[in-house]
């Protein structure tokens, strides 16, 4: 995996370990990172982005606990073999929850009727 696939935004309210975990989760779920693919070591990611290695470890451990990564003896982390089975729509949809909640909030703040928002969203999805 290319270390530049991750982008770190220090100023964002989301802690850096969550940024890394969320980006890797999306890359794995979308299949851009395939089952069995090795991840760069904690040291490589930390050195490349000049961030605390503990932050990277924490993200990796979280994804390991979620079953998305396997810890390989002496070799670091790899995308879990179980990822060869595709995920349910429901599970992949959960990944969009945060973005959708934000969208819903903005739509409410703008006082837009739901039908118009959905219509626009459908247009974007079917483009």
């Amino acid at each position: 995996m290319d270390k530049d696939l991750l982008s770190i935004l220090p100023a964002a309210p989301e802690p850096i370990y969550q940024q890394i975990a969320a980006q890797l989760r999306r890359l794995i779920m979308s299949g851009r990172l395939a089952a069995g693919e090795e991840l760069p070591s904690v040291r490589e990611v930390a050195g490349h982005h000049a961030i605390n290695p503990m932050t990277v470890s924490r993200a990796y451990s979280q994804l390991e606990a979620e079953g998305l990564l396997d810890r390989r003896r002496g070799k670091g982390m790899a995308v879990a073999e179980s990822r060869r089975r595709p995920l349910s729509d429901e599970r992949r949809l959960e990944e969009l929850d945060a973005a959708l909640e934000d969208l819903a909030r903005q739509a409410r703040e703008l006082g837009l009727p739901a039908a118009r928002v959905l219509e626009r969203l459908r247009g974007l999805l079917e483009r």
Partner: protein, 300 residues
Amino acid sequence: MNALMAARDESAAPLLCEGITKRYDGQPVLSSVGLEIPAGAVLGLIGRNGAGKTTLIRILLGLLSPDAGMAYVFGEPALNLRDGAMMRLGYVPQQPDMLAWMRVGEMLEFVGAQYPKWDRAFVRHELERCGLDPKRRLTALSPGEHQRVALIRALAATPELLVLDEPAAALDPVARRDLLREIALRAGESGTTVLFSTHIVPDLERVASHVAFLHNGSFVLSSPMDELAERYGRLVVPAAAVPVAADPLPGELSRRRRSDGTLAVVVARSPGAAWPLVGTAPQARVDALGLEDLFIEVTQ
């Protein structure tokens, strides 16, 4: 030599202080400040200009005596540090003052001879990487180069505790990134404990494992970095929900009236606890805050 004195307490926190109070000309600068930095932590210290960061650092290292309170380095009273503890400590002050009549290479040789774990290869590699000729005189360096040499000097001693007072102030962005990488990797791999003060909040967000805000002479906030978003939030509530003169909310750190009439209250909660009830009022919301916004909210 007294065996009891020589035995060093491996479990002692690299830096610890209790009840530190300091006044300048009768004006309190620090009021009963306590702090403990566990081994391997990278603590970022932020505070506005004049908040007392440098004073606190100097007291922590025994370079200045407090009016009250005690500071300990590796479990030893900071004011009488023995050579053994000194050798384990690297400190880069804001204005490094280094044997200015010497040449870069001479100074590093001279200083290095005093340290048992001096890393010559690191010195050579770093000087080369930043294109610094060891034959140049220290007096002829730019402030940024001076800072780099001071950092090389501190890091080459492979200290277990590294204390940096505004280390990035004079560095260009590339040099700054190099420094952050060095701090992050040393903490992560060698378990080096780091205390650094800075105004550059994104730097701190990258490498710090803990953060503390010094404001009006004491810590208004102190937290592991990863728990910030969970522990601190800004409640934005409609004007009608809270009279501005109402009692502080539980955990309140600051409040201000916003130009649209709503009230913004920054609140701390314990991880897992609920936000104060008013956060659930109609049209109220809780914003997660980035470190910089949080800092501005609680110290302005």
